[in-house]
Symmetry: C2
Subunit: 205 residues, 2 copies
């Protein structure tokens, strides 16, 4: 945990600020952001101070400045090359996911072990998984998205560890951990079950 939630808040601030900017806003107050994210204004100011984002005592925060700083903090100013492992439905959905098309994110290749899925001539090529080491080394790739069937997940993780990959976004239902790789587990099944719990136990006030 630590300041884990802070980063998610930062991402939310960013989304709001991008929208505000697009409708011509220039300044924003901690109060506005607090309302929108349902936290206290103190927390917004504290978050900003934590990352060295400074406001003006009277004029609030300059949206442009805050956005630049947030992008710098998040590291999205730099190019990030990623690969997707698994060209099944989830892999393909992620390949075309609009949220990955922005910022510095560049999908280099997709991998699968099904010959039918291979397409080395595509704009973003789909290679057989046996070429994974070559491509990762050639492009010095540090990030991988894992969208394979559950029974292939551990094997992929081992390969990625050996190849020196630094981060994995894991869409399999296996809760993966690694000493060498930072893993972010996205468990869609759990998200649905959590929602089911919430509507079942909703406090009807």
């Amino acid at each position: 945990m630590g300041n884990g939630n802070r980063i998610y808040r930062l991402l939310n601030y960013k989304n709001i600020l991008v929208r505000l900017k697009s409708i011509g806003f220039v300044k924003v107050f901690s109060d506005n952001l607090a309302d929108s994210l349902e936290v206290s204004p103190s927390l917004v100011r504290k978050d900003f101070r934590e990352f060295g984002i400074r406001g003006a005592q009277k004029g609030g925060y300059q949206i442009e400045t805050v956005l630049e700083k947030i992008n710098e903090i998040l590291g999205v100013n730099k190019k990030h090359k990623i690969v997707i492992i698994g060209a099944g439905r989830i892999g393909q959905a992620l390949l075309n996911f609009p949220g990955f098309k922005k910022d510095g994110i560049q999908i280099i290749a997709v991998f699968d072990n099904d010959p039918e899925k291979i397409n080395e001539e595509a704009e973003i090529p789909v290679y057989h998984v046996k070429y994974l080491p070559d491509i990762i080394r050639k492009h010095n790739i540090r990030l991988a998205i894992l969208a394979v069937p559950e029974n292939a997940a551990l094997g992929c993780m081992e390969a990625l560890e050996l190849l020196g990959v630094k981060g994995v976004l894991n869409f399999t239902s296996l809760n993966l951990k690694s000493e060498k790789i930072i893993v972010n587990n996205v468990n869609i099944g759990n998200e649905l079950e959590n929602l089911i719990f919430s509507i079942t136990n909703k406090n009807t006030d």
Copy 2:
């Protein structure tokens, strides 16, 4: 927040217990689960007590009993009928998502406004979105998965509110809120950016 994290832990306990059961285990100790989830044994015991799951002072917890209780708490013993709005790549990936095939989850229909995507004869039919009200009322549906383009998200939410839907699992990049509906926002772009932050700022200890 509140006990929000507690439910996610419960889902993780469940996943571990299912695996333990499948390899023939009968009992489990708070210590084992604590190691696996990287929390303290006290917390495991506290979580269980909170939901009325009792162990034996010497013999730990009966896996079968705990699983039944967890499923009861999560409400997955009951049938849950859901619809998916949006038959694009994400919608289709979710339609075939293995994690949704289990438990009491039943996907009734998919909706889209693109005539090319309509397929009313499929095993899980894809209807034009104009039939959304009919189907929701007919099947008394309380859960919807939102997988539409960003610009259609707010309109869908309004419709779902009017139709009395109780919960929405939102895959659009818009952070949705509602007075009437419990919304669980799954922002895949944010998850990737969070991972990028983590590998950029990793403390190399």
